[in-house]
């Protein structure tokens, strides 16, 4: 029991007995109002002068005033355009909402197989990047302002040289690209300059997956998992429900098998072995904390237990691992063809190949997992090897010109390559990027790139299905499309991205011919493509057809000897993972993502290293204590730590993408871990950890992660539901009240959240932020305990530190029927409306905060400063960002309380529509932002007055309950308890004890 204030330690409420305690730091808050020094005044003046020229102007090409309203456009009514977003070359189809030409919100394209209407946090945050005042907006040469024309002048001279040398000395570096147009232009460029070299580098990528396919099947292919067809899934170090280009599709497919409803009482089982507690691990029914290096051994043991021919059971399995394998093997064997073994990118190729053999052995190959033709044009070898040889050539001065598209290798390249050093030897380097970053600073030419919402493009889903990227707005800042830059390299300076894409598809359709009839037909086709966002007959489902190679049976391959020696004395296995907020660093200037609480730990604005609580204690650390990590090749980083239950003993989990040195938002946030990452240790390395005795206060949003014996997230064994047991989860009857009942009207809105389906991906949190103009408060405010998210995802740990169960719970406003906040408000700003909504009238609010003091769920948010109006964090008060605001939602002023409204603007929109048509709002017509974004469809929303509505059905489920129902608040937001299937016939692994 601490007797004096010590820093805030959220997880220690779980990890140890002590209470989390406050920090005495930062007693004096920094003034938030803008200081008007000369520079900022000039900056503001400059900006306000620039805005009329860009944001508010019509595109240069065409000006159409609304003398007569354009057909289909109603002022004040948003329009939706199909587009797509790609991450590492893999697309998700999206619909972008546009208000009078301003994109304000992104949602999934229901017709796109990788979305089906869902989105992830990255997609949701995309609109902020569009308006981001920190975006690169100027062409610069040698760090001085220049123009694109100047660049083209330089390019002409370069091209003259390439003509002679056939492109020798010209190198192009890109990230993973699946765009058919980019590939077409690249092929054309290669034709003109056959000696040019193209290198593809992704800091995360899918090299091991690709190499695993090659090892098992002898040819390149891309993996496609189908968790919807699986009954039992084993994810080895594979965070397939976590962030990444396929998150939305995989999560939705996985959720298909997890919906426990009356009449459907089966569940897909999920077993996970991983070093760091991830969203997937939190969802798992059985989870084993496992150092990354032991993945190989565990999978071999699993293969042997399943009787995969030629696999010898390895020895040296620990008690807990053995028990896990036993249970797992029983599950997988039981599922047979419907089993699915997934291996994460961080595992070496032969482990991937072994997974293919297990899947094939179980008969799952072709069922739950398929190998598709690769969509990404890639250089031979892994991308790290390719980058290494490029660096080699740069250092040998064999590179005259280096053109980098988007990638940021100075920051992300393996540390042992010293890419920055090699770049100095390149006479002419060109960097095209959305943000000015570490690489652009080191390049001769910096060319700003257009945002995907400003340019044309095309991209492919993993299945090969092509989506067209459509611009919604004329460029807000100066920028250039990679397609036009690529065309310029080939000598065509006047090609716009639209022309390039259009040409690709008109060529493809007409097969090269160009007769008039075909052209007319193409226009129809093209319009259809733009409207739906999909190019029909592409991908494996379409004409691109069957794989070129035989992927039906893996061939024989030799497994290398096991190499998982535990780290030496005092050394830890350092595990690298992409970050849930910034991925590899590319999103780090996005304030929404920076302030999105990391699943499970709720950390924001930083990337503390995750450690097992016992390791943490052994080193005498507390949350926020800094440690120095030293690798054998004398690289050192200093990083704050955090104890996270479920972390594998002896490992330290770190995430990429922080510690940026450039970026209006990104700079100085978190710790750069790339220095530890080398060519041979891209995913884990060994390092000693030394406490340096310093501490920082981590920015976290959740207080305690322990349920303290209260029934907050209820868990029900699946068997109990089957047998119709009284689960105790169903709250009996209506609690009494002194206040009169409200009259029931035609609309009684309610929400039901299925906690079994929640994967804590945060898509809902960012979607809510985008939809409802929720401001960012910044790290200092978070440390003071203030945040503005209307919807938060709480997580709780249960059980032991080594094998905790994690329960996650999205908490929006409960819209209580007997809301405790309402009678507290002296001015009637918090009132109940006729549709059962608990509404907050911002204009009327005087800011007594009594409502929040009496809210048992603490879901109300107070504008302690003018977070959205006058006192914004960093550059978020930039006038440009006003254009981002959803015009249907009030921007709240300082001193006003706000909270979740059930997206009342969407309800009003639907009501207007229905009233005009003389009917009542139909089921499914109102979709809240969180519900729409949710990739697993965990959130249902609807009308209680409508008998057959989904919410009514869900409220009848035996595992339905209300949070803190005993308080008599009668919440309208209710939950379905977390349903837990019993795994295997084997004993629970806890009972086995750990052999270590």
């Amino acid at each position: 029991m601490s007797s004096s204030p010590t820093p805030f330690r959220p997880r220690e409420a779980f990890v140890s007995d002590s209470w989390p305690a406050p920090s005495g730091e930062e007693l004096l808050p920094e003034a938030r109002s803008t200081t008007f020094d000369r520079r900022s005044v000039l900056k503001l003046m400059g900006l306000s002068a620039a805005i009329p020229l860009t944001a508010c102007s019509a595109p240069a090409e065409e000006i159409v005033p609304y003398v007569t309203m354009p057909e289909g456009l109603v002022a004040g009514k948003p329009r939706y355009f199909a587009t797509a977003f790609e991450l590492e070359g893999i697309a998700t189809g999206l619909l972008a909402e546009s208000h009078e030409g301003r994109p304000t919100k992104i949602d999934g394209n229901p017709d796109h197989p990788a979305s089906l209407g869902g989105t992830d946090a990255f997609h949701q945050a995309m609109v902020l990047s569009l308006y981001d005042p920190g975006r690169a907006s100027l062409v610069r040469k040698d760090r001085r302002f220049s123009t694109y024309d100047d660049f083209l002048g330089d390019l002409t001279r370069m091209r003259a040289r390439w003509q002679e040398s056939e492109g020798d000395g010209l190198e192009i570096l890109t990230g993973a690209v699946s765009s058919p147009t980019f590939q077409r232009l690249m092929a054309a460029l290669k034709e003109s300059f056959p000696k040019l070299r193209h290198t593809v580098f992704e800091p995360v990528g899918r090299d091991n997956e690709r190499a695993g396919v090659r090892l098992a099947f002898g040819d390149d292919g891309a993996l496609a998992w189908h968790p919807d067809r699986a009954k039992a899934i084993f994810a080895l170090d594979a965070d397939f429900l976590g962030p990444g280009p396929q998150q939305v599709g995989l999560a939705r497919a996985f959720a298909q098998g997890r919906k426990v409803r009356t009449g459907s009482r089966t569940m897909t089982r999920l077993a996970v072995a991983e070093p760091v507690m991830s969203g997937t691990g939190a969802t798992a029914d059985l989870r084993l904390p496992l150092p990354r290096s032991r993945g190989d051994r565990l999978l071999r043991a699993t293969a042997a237990a399943l009787g995969v021919p030629g696999i010898v059971a390895p020895d040296g399995l620990k008690g807990r691992e053995e028990a896990f394998v036993e249970t797992l093997a029983a599950e997988l064997r039981g599922a047979g063809q419907a089993a699915l073994v997934m291996v994460g990118e961080a595992q070496p190729p032969h482990v991937h190949a072994l997974a293919h053999r297990i899947n094939a052995h179980l008969g799952a190959l072709g069922e739950t997992v398929r190998i598709l033709p690769p969509i990404i044009e890639q250089t031979a070898g892994t991308s790290a090897e390719a980058l290494a040889s490029l660096t080699e050539r740069m250092r040998d001065e064999a590179v005259q010109e280096l053109v980098i598209f988007g990638a940021n290798p100075v920051y992300t390249a393996p540390a042992d390559l010293d890419f920055a050093g090699a770049l100095e030897a390149v006479p002419t380097s060109v960097h095209l990027s959305l943000y000015q970053d570490e690489t652009s600073e080191a390049c001769r030419w910096q060319i700003p790139q257009l945002h995907p919402l400003e340019e044309w493009g095309d991209t492919r889903a993993k299945s090969g299905l092509v989506s067209i990227v459509q611009p919604l707005v004329s460029p807000l800042y100066e920028g250039h499309s990679p397609l036009s830059l690529l065309a310029a390299l080939a000598g065509d300076y006047a090609v716009s991205s639209h022309q390039a894409v259009y040409e690709t598809w008109s060529q493809r359709r007409s097969g090269g011919g160009s007769d008039e009839a075909a052209q007319g037909g193409f226009e129809d086709f093209w319009r259809n493509v733009l409207a739906t966002g999909l190019v029909p007959d592409t991908g494996v489902e379409g004409a691109d057809g069957a794989p070129s190679s035989d992927f039906s049976q893996p061939g024989a391959f030799d497994l290398p000897p096991l190499s998982d020696a535990p780290p030496g004395d005092g050394a830890f296995e350092i595990v690298f993972n992409p970050d849930t907020s910034v991925w590899d660093g590319r999103f780090s200037n996005n304030a929404w993502l920076q302030e999105t609480p990391r699943p499970i730990t709720s950390e924001v604005w930083g990337n503390a290293a995750a450690m097992h609580p016992a390791d943490h204690r052994a080193l005498g650390l507390r949350d926020g204590s800094l440690i120095a990590l030293d690798t054998a090749d004398e690289q050192r980083i200093t990083i704050p730590t955090m104890a996270v239950p479920g972390q594998a003993r002896g490992t330290i989990g770190v995430t990429l993408g922080y510690g940026r040195t450039i970026g209006s938002i990104a700079r100085g946030i978190g710790t750069d871990v790339y220095p530890l990452r080398t060519r041979d240790s891209l995913w884990f390395t060994e390092a000693t950890a030394t406490p340096i005795g310093a501490h920082v206060t981590l920015a976290t949003t959740q207080g305690s992660h322990q349920m303290e014996g209260r029934e907050i997230v209820r868990t029900v064994p699946l068997g109990d539901l089957d047998e119709g047991h009284e689960t105790g989860a169903h709250f009996e009857g209506e609690p009494p009240t002194l206040f009169p009942e409200f009259e029931r009207g035609p609309y009684e809105w309610a929400m039901v959240i299925d906690q079994t389906l929640c994967i804590a991906c945060n898509a809902c949190v960012v979607a809510c932020q985008a939809e409802n103009n929720v401001p960012v408060v910044g790290p200092e405010e978070i440390r003071r305990g203030r945040d503005m998210h209307w919807l938060r995802i709480d997580s709780y740990f249960e059980g032991e530190e080594d094998a905790p169960r994690v329960a996650t719970q999205p908490v929006p406003c409960m819209h209580c029927e007997k809301a405790p906040c309402e009678p507290m408000c002296p001015v009637e700003a918090a009132i109940h409306d006729s549709e059962g909504l608990n509404v907050q009238v911002y204009n009327r609010c005087v800011g007594t905060r009594d409502c929040q003091s009496n809210c048992p769920y603490k879901v109300r948010r107070f504008n302690f400063f003018g977070y959205a109006a006058g006192q914004e964090y960093a550059d978020l008060g930039d006038p440009m960002l006003n254009a981002l605001q959803n015009p249907d939602v009030t921007v709240r002023a300082r001193g006003v309380m706000e909270k979740c409204t059930y997206c009342v603007q969407r309800i009003s929109g639907a009501r207007r529509e229905a009233t005009r048509e003389g009917r009542i709002i139909a089921e499914g017509e109102v979709v809240t932002a969180c519900q729409q974004a949710c990739p697993t469809e965990a959130i249902s929303f609807g009308n209680l007055s409508e008998k057959g509505s989904a919410v009514n059905r869900l409220r009848e489920e035996p595992h339905h309950y209300a949070l803190l129902a005993e308080l008599g608040t009668r919440p309208r937001t209710t939950y379905l308890a977390h349903v837990q299937p019993e795994l295997g016939a084997a004993k629970a692994p806890d009972e086995e004890g750990d052999a270590t």
Binding site: S23, G703, E781, R786, P826, C845, N854, P856
Partner: protein, 462 residues
């Protein structure tokens, strides 16, 4: 030498005290007047000027804190998303508590014929007035948009909106407003005969006119005295329920919620007792320097202090009982949130403050079982200060503990006051002292006419 020209001190030396020790055994009316009025007509002493100067710095500090608050926003304080009530609410409750004692002394003791009140009621009432006024400022500063706080009042408006009558905050607003209005009226009523005395004693024309205006033509006729007394007693009878209501309503701010540690039926009486307790402690704390500085030892005697110490002792016992009842109720309710909160109060990060509060409010007054401590100026002063500190801790802990440790563990949070929280609290104290020093120089610090009456009843004066 005639007794009429002697000071109180000399009178005691000559004649000793009355039987109950409240005043010199022989005390002419003239001496009483001289004793009290002398402090007003004397040239301001250097000490007084220094004190006024220092406390004025506090006023400036208060002003700056308010200005910064209005310019920057509530965010300059340590309040956060969960602990939405901080110093402002605690200061309000504390000041209003202090403001309780004056009225209590004036009304309750008047009605119960506690004669010793006569010497202390004037400045106790002044203390009430100033404390209540300062208390009234804090709710305004607490809200996010103070310029709109008038929306709490029911007035005809174009929005055709009334306040939310179910809100304890609205009840609170009425309670404070009534209380402040009452305090001003009652205090002023008590002043009228003394203002007339000062008018008669004043030498300068300006002072004469100024006091004359406020004396409302008082001439001390029997008829005036008769009306005056009926009115004054009637006011006192009204005051007693107000004293009880004001702090009951403050207690309801908490008790009408469903938060653990707040939702307790004991809150209204417990708050009333707490308020009297802190108010009396403040009176004791102020009396000791005042009687010394104004030379009123003959009028405010050790027996007065003894009587107040007994009340403090009683208060301390009731407070201890209330705390233990809270623990019992928490345990008995069986609610996990309630029980967890009690553990948090004792052993959480604010535990040391809670223990300190218990020591100040429960233990310290126990000294007054002994007569020696009840009549010792130093222990009296120290315990008075301790009780004030303890009561302030109680106010802030009520806010911090419950809000930091509510129903959902995910919302457990912490409140760390910022420099602005402290400056504003200190500033309010500066304002209080400043007003009090001014009062002591302009208005008779003790009620001349009531002491005369006392002297008459005691048989000290002829």
């Amino acid at each position: 030498m005639s007794d009429a020209t002697l000071t109180g001190r000399e009178l005691i030396a000559n004649h000793g005290r009355t039987r109950d020790g409240l005043m010199p055994a022989e005390m002419p009316y003239g001496t009483i007047t001289d004793e009290v009025a002398a402090a007003i007509f004397r040239k301001p002493s250097r000490l007084w000027l220094v004190l006024v100067g220092v406390s004025f710095l506090g006023v400036i500090l208060f002003g700056i804190s308010i200005l910064v608050l209005l310019v920057e926003g509530t965010g300059i304080w340590g309040v956060n998303s969960e602990v939405v009530w901080g110093f402002a609410v605690a200061n309000y409750v504390w000041w209003i508590g202090i403001g309780n004692a004056g009225t209590l002394i004036s009304c309750m003791l008047l009605l119960t014929r506690q004669r010793w009140r006569a010497s202390i009621n004037r400045y106790a009432e002044a203390m009430t007035l100033f404390a209540a006024a300062i208390a009234g400022i804090f709710p305004l500063l607490h809200v996010g948009r103070p310029w709109l706080a008038y929306w709490l009042a029911p007035y005809p408006n174009t929005m055709t909106l009334w306040p939310q009558w179910r809100s304890p905050l609205v009840w609170d607003m009425f309670a404070i407003a009534c209380y402040i209005l009452f305090s001003i009226l009652f205090w002023y009523t008590g002043l009228i005969p003394d203002l007339a005395t000062l008018r008669d004693k004043a030498k300068h024309r300006f002072t004469k006119v100024a006091y004359g205006i406020f004396a409302l033509g008082w001439n001390g006729s029997s008829r005036q005295w008769k009306n005056y007394n009926s009115y004054y007693y009637a006011m006192a009878a009204l005051g007693v329920p107000l004293v009880v209501s004001i702090h009951s309503v403050v207690g309801l701010d908490y008790a009408a919620t469903l938060m653990p540690g707040w939702q307790e039926t004991i809150f209204p009486p417990y708050f009333v007792v707490g308020a009297m307790f802190s108010g009396f402690a403040m009176v004791v704390t102020l009396t000791i320097p005042i009687r010394w500085a104004l030379g009123l030892q003959s009028i405010i005697t050790l027996d007065h202090l003894d009587a107040m110490a007994k009340i403090l002792l009683l208060g301390g016992i009731i407070m201890s009982f209330s705390y233990s009842f809270e623990w019992f109720a928490g345990w008995y309710s069986g609610g996990e949130a309630e029980r967890s909160l009690i553990a948090f109060q004792f052993f959480g990060p604010y535990g040391w403050l809670y223990w300190m509060m218990l020591a100040c409010n429960g233990l310290a007054p126990q000294l007054f079982w002994w007569r020696r401590f009840r009549r010792g100026l130093v222990p009296l002063f120290i315990v008075g200060v301790l009780v004030n500190v303890g009561m302030w801790l109680e106010r802030i802990l009520i806010n911090m503990n419950t809000l930091a440790h509510g129903h959902l563990p995910s919302t457990f949070s912490f409140y760390v006051p910022t420099i602005w929280d402290w400056l504003m609290f200190l500033g309010s104290f500066g304002l209080f002292c400043f007003l009090f020093f001014l009062f002591a120089k302009v208005i008779p610090a003790a009620s001349i006419h009531e002491i005369r009456e006392l002297a008459h009843k005691e048989g000290a004066a002829r």
